[in-house]
């Protein structure tokens, strides 16, 4: 955590959040609030679990004013508007605040000239459409990852944001987590020698499901929920009723909506792999799908590095366990980087680990001891709870990076080229998985070599009237 962030939040505040805030970050008081004329007016489009979390962080940000919320689910929409208005009323020390527009149609938001930027946390099927429409309306964008549904969408997003000189920040917030940044710096400085392997968690794709119809909740615009995706009847497995949901992205099981765990979770780690290798404008050259026995996707890069996505722990039958690394380590939100002179593990929850102490010399580590002790007075019951809360607090840093880029008209850490390329790596993993064969990929032309079927999977027609 940055020192600035530590000052803003403070250890006691973090502890007071409690485990329940795993799905709803605390709205912190805004310190150093900018004048209203200097604040960036933002709208939040999509306020489910991820959107609500982002929205709450924005409410704590002294640079932003949340002026509108949007969701096709009336329950979520009203809940979000009430959250914002209650927070601003409390800040102004008055009984009520009415200044937040609520709409089910994001086009109303894009048509408002007073809105500078939008935060998009809809389902993946919408990301490219709303992002490009926002850019064409002159808005800057923060978009949750994976930032596209197809490789073609990714390229159009890059062209559109470049054309209009708009700021795009992908929601790959691990780039704003100190430990991943430190690992990147150490690896690029040669602390583990020549990089050979990057081991990433998350494996599993989506399917074309044919779920039975159920009755949508009252006030829900199911047609707008589907948006550009082919028609499917409402089913609560896609969208839990009357709640933000217990799974972050329940719809990612359906291939028409998303790419499954490889894109939903896996793209986070693949993004860090791309970043560490300096491949923000490139990608792998060969992708080998997993098999029922070998549940590992290989991503081979032209620089000789092998990136692997798998689930859980390393499999010694197929993967080399580096010397000194605990072979029963359960992977979740950490990545193992292996070089020819050692290894580093970096993760969301910290601390950094390495094969030799000198690899981490001079690195300011996240202090695990003072923060990881359970505190009986505050309700934080386990180090895991606390670590997760600290990670979520780091989400502020990624928003801060976006805001700074908006003010300076500079590129944020997860800019449109980087975010779409990282998302594409996950798409490549899926396409190799769906075709069931090794794919050769040209990252310059963005074409598969010698596989027409795979190339056809790069693009999908959208349900009318939507397009990019």
């Amino acid at each position: 955590m940055s020192r600035l962030l530590q000052r803003r939040i403070g250890r006691r505040t973090i502890l007071k959040q409690g485990a329940g805030l795993l799905v709803a970050p605390l709205i912190l008081p805004r310190i150093g609030l900018k004048a209203a004329s200097d604040r960036i007016n933002v709208a939040s489009i999509g306020v489910g679990i991820m959107g609500n979390g982002n929205m709450r962080r924005m409410l704590s940000n002294p640079d932003l004013q949340l002026v509108a919320v949007c969701d096709v689910d009336e329950w979520r929409l009203n809940d979000a508007r009430d959250t914002v208005e209650t927070a601003y009323a409390a800040e102004m020390k008055r009984g009520n605040y009415k200044g937040v527009a609520a709409t089910k149609d994001f086009r109303e938001i894009l048509a408002r000239p007073d809105i500078d930027a939008v935060l998009i946390a809809t389902g993946d099927r919408w990301h490219a459409v709303i992002s490009t429409m926002a850019a064409k309306a002159g808005k800057d964008v923060y978009c949750e990852k994976p930032v596209s549904l197809t490789i073609h969408e990714s390229r159009v997003m890059v062209e559109t944001f470049r054309r209009h000189n708009r700021i795009f920040q992908g929601g790959f917030q691990q780039r704003s987590v100190d430990d991943f940044a430190a690992a990147r710096r150490l690896i690029q400085n040669g602390r583990i020698g020549k990089l050979k392997n990057i081991y990433c968690n998350w494996y599993g794709t989506s399917q074309i499901l044919n779920l039975p119809p159920e009755t949508p909740p009252p006030g829900m615009d199911w047609d707008m929920w589907l948006g550009p995706a082919p028609y499917h009847p409402f089913n609560s497995r896609y969208h839990p009723i009357g709640q933000r949901g217990s799974r972050t992205v329940p719809w990612d099981i359906q291939r028409d909506f998303a790419g499954g765990s490889i894109t939903s979770n896996g793209s986070h780690h693949l993004d860090i792999a791309q970043w560490v290798m300096g491949m923000d404008d490139s990608g792998p050259v060969e992708i080998v799908p997993g098999t029922p026995e070998r549940r590992i996707i290989d991503y081979k890069y032209a620089n000789g590095v092998l990136v692997q996505s798998f689930q859980g722990q390393l499999n010694p039958k197929f993967q080399e366990i580096p010397a000194g690394f605990d072979p029963v380590t359960r992977f979740q939100w950490q990545i193992l980087f292996v070089g020819d002179r050692g290894w580093i593990v970096a993760g969301r929850e910290g601390p950094l680990k390495a094969s030799r102490p000198e690899i981490l010399a001079d690195v300011l580590l996240t202090p695990p001891e003072p923060l990881a002790k359970p505190d009986a007075k505050t309700g934080a019951t386990s180090p895991q709870d606390l670590a997760e809360q600290i990670y979520r607090a780091r989400g502020y840093a990624h928003h801060d990076n976006w805001i700074q880029a908006i003010r300076l008209r500079s590129q944020p850490v997860s800019n449109v080229e980087a975010a779409t390329r990282s998302t594409n790596v996950a798409h490549l993993g899926n396409i190799a998985t769906w075709t069931g064969r090794t794919q050769k990929w040209d990252p310059i032309k963005e074409e598969f070599i010698g596989d027409d079927m795979a190339n056809r999977m790069r693009q999908r027609a959208m349900r009318a009237p939507w397009t990019i």
């Binding site: 064409k136 002159g138 054309r163 074309i208 082919p230 069931g436 027609a461 959208m462 009318a464 397009t467």
Partner: protein, 247 residues
């Protein structure tokens, strides 16, 4: 009790022949795993033209109106991957079906050759409302310049269709499309105007990419002045700057 004992083993998949029988009765809500053998068969014809053509022919037989929408959507998904001009006559009528239109367009967008272009162009004259907008978007995706006269006509119709046509004309990137976009400038409601400007910027980029620099410069005149929002002016100037550098 172990975890393995609690979890029932998945039912064995049907054979390919059984799967082709089951697809006949496939309805909304039917377990889609019964069709996995067909999906696998599609993947396995890679590199075998004879097998691909045979499987395509077999799949096309399930596009008739006696089959359910989900059956026909499933078949379209397979034809997206292995379809050829031979599929076009059976797929084309589905463009006019509101629910299946996106699936049919998806197939046609992926089949190279003039047959798909013609099917989509013909549908432009028959489809209505939202379905026609989808066809406009598919014509744009294929950059079928022969559709330009119809798109120009649609520019004068309802705002949603006109906006889609403006964007499609931009994708064409031809001098004829550029002239139509200049003529449409300043006409119609705000969403159409925004689409005309968007189409103009896209068209200019396409013209530059094909070496038609002077047409691009002419097209961009009028979208660089102060009446345009900053994000439009910057886009136009970016392209103009690129043209100047190359000259």
């Amino acid at each position: 009790m172990t975890q393995a004992a609690q979890t029932p083993a998945p039912a064995p998949l049907p054979t390919l022949e059984q799967s082709f029988e089951l697809v006949k009765e496939f309805k909304v809500g039917t377990d889609s795993t019964v069709l996995i053998p067909i999906e696998r068969a599609v993947m396995e014809v890679h590199g075998n033209e004879t097998a691909r053509a045979a499987l395509e022919k077999r799949l096309v037989a399930y596009l008739g109106s006696s089959y359910s929408s989900v059956t026909r959507a499933f078949v379209c998904r397979q034809l997206v991957l292995i379809g050829s001009a031979a599929s076009v006559p059976a797929v084309a009528p589905l463009i006019l079906d509101d629910e299946l239109s996106v699936h049919a367009r998806n197939v046609l967008e992926h089949i190279p050759g003039p047959e798909s272009d013609k099917a989509l162009r013909d549908a432009l004259g028959q489809a209505k409302g939202r379905t026609r907008i989808g066809v406009i978007n598919s014509v744009a995706a294929r950059r079928d310049a022969a559709s330009t006269p119809v798109l120009i006509k649609i520019l004068g119709e309802d705002p949603q269709s006109a906006a889609a046509a403006a964007k499609a004309l931009g994708e064409m990137g031809t001098s004829e499309a550029a002239k139509a976009l200049v003529a449409a400038r300043g006409k119609g409601p705000a969403p159409v105007q925004q689409a005309v400007v968007d189409g103009t910027l896209i068209c200019a980029d396409r013209l530059v990419a094909t070496g038609q620099r002077s047409q691009a410069i002419t097209l961009l005149e009028g979208v660089t002045d102060a009446s345009q929002p900053e994000h439009v002016r910057v886009a136009a100037k970016r392209t103009l700057s690129a043209v100047t550098r190359k000259s």
